[in-house]
């Protein structure tokens, strides 16, 4: 396995994802001789995992079962240990497309943070591209290096421990794209420009506050970037549910048994497959939005180096 290449069977040293049920999963480092506790019982790596096919169902000691999944950057994003606030796949998706990233791309990123975006970028630029990621926090930089190594992608990424606003990305006239997720991105625009290739490089800055965005856009303009564009993207999830609504009793119009306009015995839902389960209800399928949704992550500003 690897985050950049699919494998069929679980091997010693892999990072696998244990899936327990709806939105309940966690990563596990597969190792001979170790066990993993779950609410369904114990998973013994040597017998239950190693050699099994990814996607298999594994029965745990208490009788309950789980699925073992091949890791992907998206699953990693949902399960990684947070050292900082992270970017989720919704933002990551649009960033990847708007920066025109693909195999072979050279991309610069700061700050590395918890490595959520980093893993996605590495996956996209593999096998011939490279990620130069800059993190000013020493322990986070080291942890990131460790994780990339564990995940078999360290040959595709260079982690530098420095302040991007002072010292840049460590490359010049090379990158196809630059990504900034730092408190003062306007201070790094100059460095971003020099890291980018001569023509056509793309830049993206992610900021939670509009004031940061304003300053960044001004700086981009000053440095001659074009096609400056700010957007935000939000994910709306729907739960698929079969809903039953009761028909209200509006009483009888007269003494006889003539029904109301909405007779429950001939469902007035034209063409609806949802027939009445019982007298007095109508059933239908619905995509029900969640009670709460993420209302804001950050503004994304894109531009082109001209």
């Amino acid at each position: 396995m690897s985050f950049i290449e699919y494998g069929d069977t679980i091997k010693d040293g892999d990072t696998a994802i244990v899936f327990l049920g709806h939105e309940s999963m966690f990563p596990v480092k597969v190792q001979h001789g170790t066990v993993t506790q779950t609410k369904y019982g114990v998973i013994r790596h040597s017998t239950d995992l190693i050699g099994k096919k990814y996607g298999s169902k594994v029965t745990c000691s208490k009788g309950g079962w789980v699925f073992i999944l091949h890791p992907t950057p998206e699953l990693w994003t949902m399960n990684l240990p947070h050292r900082t606030q992270i970017l989720y796949s919704t933002d990551i998706s649009i960033i990847t497309m708007m920066l025109e990233l693909k195999p072979g791309s050279i991309v610069c990123e700061s700050g590395t943070g918890s490595g959520s975006l980093s893993h996605a970028l590495i996956r996209t630029v593999a096998p011939t591209g490279h990620l130069y990621t800059v993190e000013f926090h020493q322990q986070r930089a080291e942890k990131a290096r460790e994780e990339f190594r564990e995940h078999g992608v360290d040959h595709l990424v260079t982690v530098t421990n420095q302040d991007v606003c002072k010292n840049g990305f460590g490359v010049s006239n090379l990158a196809d794209a630059v990504f900034l997720d730092i408190p003062s991105p306007w201070e790094a625009i100059g460095h971003a420009k020099s890291a980018l290739k001569a023509e056509g490089g793309r830049i993206c800055s992610f900021s939670p506050c509009i004031e940061q965005v304003q300053r960044t856009c001004l700086a981009m303009e000053e440095y001659g970037f074009t096609e400056i564009n700010t957007l935000e993207i939000l994910l709306r999830v729907y739960n698929v549910r079969t809903i039953s609504l009761q028909i209200p009793d509006l009483g009888k119009a007269a003494e006889d048994n003539s029904g109301t306009g909405f007779d429950s015995s001939n469902s007035s839902n034209q063409g609806s497959p949802g027939a009445n389960l019982q007298q007095g209800t109508v059933q239908f399928k619905s995509g029900v939005p969640l009670r709460e949704m993420v209302g804001h992550t950050g503004y994304l500003t894109f531009a082109t180096k001209s």
Partner: protein, 481 residues
């Protein structure tokens, strides 16, 4: 690609950009292009770097735009608000004819804008912001600059959504972006793609795979539509591992009864192919006309000349003519047979790839109801792999979700859509833009797992486990499906 931008070559597919408007055009000499009410030739653009901005000269030629020094903002006269500004349509003293005369004289757009400002009675009463807005508006209209950009998923998906959304089932570009990431599209994958989006989705997948791995494109009717795919300008090797397979053969493949004996658009008389190619042109003519919705980038199939010949009057006395025609007929038949043999070979290869049932992912984005597509095509996907289905409408995906639950072998099902908003960011004038897309389609995504066949109980149990627990207090009767 080096650190220098790539250059515009003849034969490229390039995208013209003016403001937010895009148009894809082939770069050909002496080919008149009409774009944004201007017409011109692209000849002068050839050799320049992509991203260069041009002006259209009076002769209809392109000229790189000179970098002009922005006039330093001297404190110009401006008002404080619009309480006294009356919009009677009479504040501009230049008439349509005056402006036309200026244009005809060859006056540059910049100068026209300056003239308009000077001849506007209300300009100096406007606020600075209003002046700014006015200048921007006039510049947009009169300073006709065109940028030639290199096609990419970003550019083409934005262009198609703005210009021809019907061709791509109203798939908005951010929704496409989600599909590519959710589907973990990357180099080395073996992907199954089923789309009726003019080949845009296929192109996007190919871009993210960088020529590595393989793609099997499933297609309805006679052949896949790849109009948008050719716009990307992929190098030829990318197409070496692009296969196609007809949907109409999926059931036979799954049931094990597939054979290459009858191709989708073949007429029934395959007998000719089996026979020796000794010019049996008197036999029924085979017209291997592909039924496509749009021409693909491949050369069109040649018309059977022998067919034409039959309707021609052949001078019986012109023996030599007749002999030559017979030779041509033989060649045509041979060519046709070669092509048909090629097609069979490719079809067999594609079938073999599918039969392995180990694809790394499935992408569906079509005008068809997604459920039958998903239920059949998922059979070809390995376990623990993502799949993403796009639909313009939500309801078919509700049904799809339900059927997938019944089938089992899938987890982490999610029905979603993305909400996208663009912003205007200017000092003291930042706000969301005034118009936005009302909807960009819906996605159903999930991950495959090893399918427990024939155990409907356990799959129900799985379904219950996979579902959210029912909310504790509900005013409405709510049954898990």
């Amino acid at each position: 690609e080096g650190s220098k931008g790539s250059r515009i070559h003849e034969g490229d597919c390039a995208v013209l950009k003016r403001g937010e408007v895009f148009k894809a055009v082939p770069v050909l000499r002496r080919r008149k292009i009409i774009f944004e009410k201007q017409w011109f030739y692209l000849d002068n653009a050839i050799g320049h770097i992509y991203g260069t901005t041009f002006e259209v000269t009076n002769g209809g030629n392109l000229q790189p735009k000179q970098e002009v020094e922005e006039t330093t903002t001297e404190t110009k006269e401006a008002g404080t608000d619009n309480r006294n500004i009356v919009d009677d349509g009479k504040s501009q003293k230049l008439t349509h004819d005056d402006i036309k005369a200026l244009k005809d004289k060859g006056i540059k757009g910049q100068e026209i804008v300056q003239q308009l400002i000077e001849n506007s009675t209300t300009f100096r009463d406007k606020t600075e912001f209003a002046q700014d807005k006015y200048i921007k508006k006039k510049k947009k209209k009169y300073e006709a600059v065109i940028t030639i950009v290199k096609p990419s998923t970003r550019i083409l998906s934005t262009m198609y959504y703005a210009r021809e959304p019907g061709k791509i089932n109203h798939l908005r570009y951010d929704t496409l972006a989600q599909m590519l990431t959710l589907g973990n599209i990357h180099a080395g994958n073996k992907m199954i793609v089923m789309e009726t989006c003019a080949g845009l989705v296929l192109g996007a997948v190919m871009e993210r795979m960088g020529g590595y791995g393989s793609i099997i494109q499933m297609y309805p009717g006679g052949g896949p539509v790849r109009a948008a795919t050719s716009c990307f300008g992929f190098p030829k090797p990318y197409f070496d591992n692009l296969h196609e397979f007809p949907l109409s053969k999926v059931h036979s493949l799954l049931s094990g009864t597939f054979s290459t004996e009858t191709l989708p658009s073949d007429p029934e008389d395959n007998a000719l192919v089996e026979e020796d190619s000794n010019g049996l042109t008197e036999e029924k003519q085979i017209s291997l006309q592909e039924t496509e919705e749009e021409p693909t980038s491949e050369a069109p199939m040649e018309i059977n000349q022998a067919e034409e010949q039959e309707t021609m009057d052949i001078n019986a006395e012109d023996v030599e003519f007749k002999e030559n025609k017979e030779k041509e007929n033989k060649e045509n038949v041979r060519e046709k047979q070669m092509k048909q043999w090629e097609r069979r070979k490719k079809l067999t290869e594609a079938a073999a790839l599918l039969r392995e049932k180990n694809a790394d992912g499935l992408i569906v984005a079509s005008k068809f109801h997604p459920t039958p597509l998903l239920l059949s095509l998922l059979e070809f996907v390995a376990p623990s792999r993502p799949f993403v289905v796009y639909c313009q409408y939500k309801e078919p995906l509700l049904e799809c979700y339900t059927k997938l639950r019944e089938r089992g072998g899938v987890i982490n099902l999610k029905l979603s859509e993305t909400w996208l908003r663009n912003y205007q960011v200017l000092p003291d004038r930042s706000h969301p833009k005034l118009t936005m897309s009302g909807g960009g389609g819906y996605l159903l995504s999930g991950i495959t797992v090893v399918l427990d066949k024939g155990k409907s109980d356990s799959s129900n149990l799985e379904a219950l486990k996979m579902e959210e627990p029912s909310p504790k207090r509900c005013k409405v009767q709510d049954l898990n499906c």
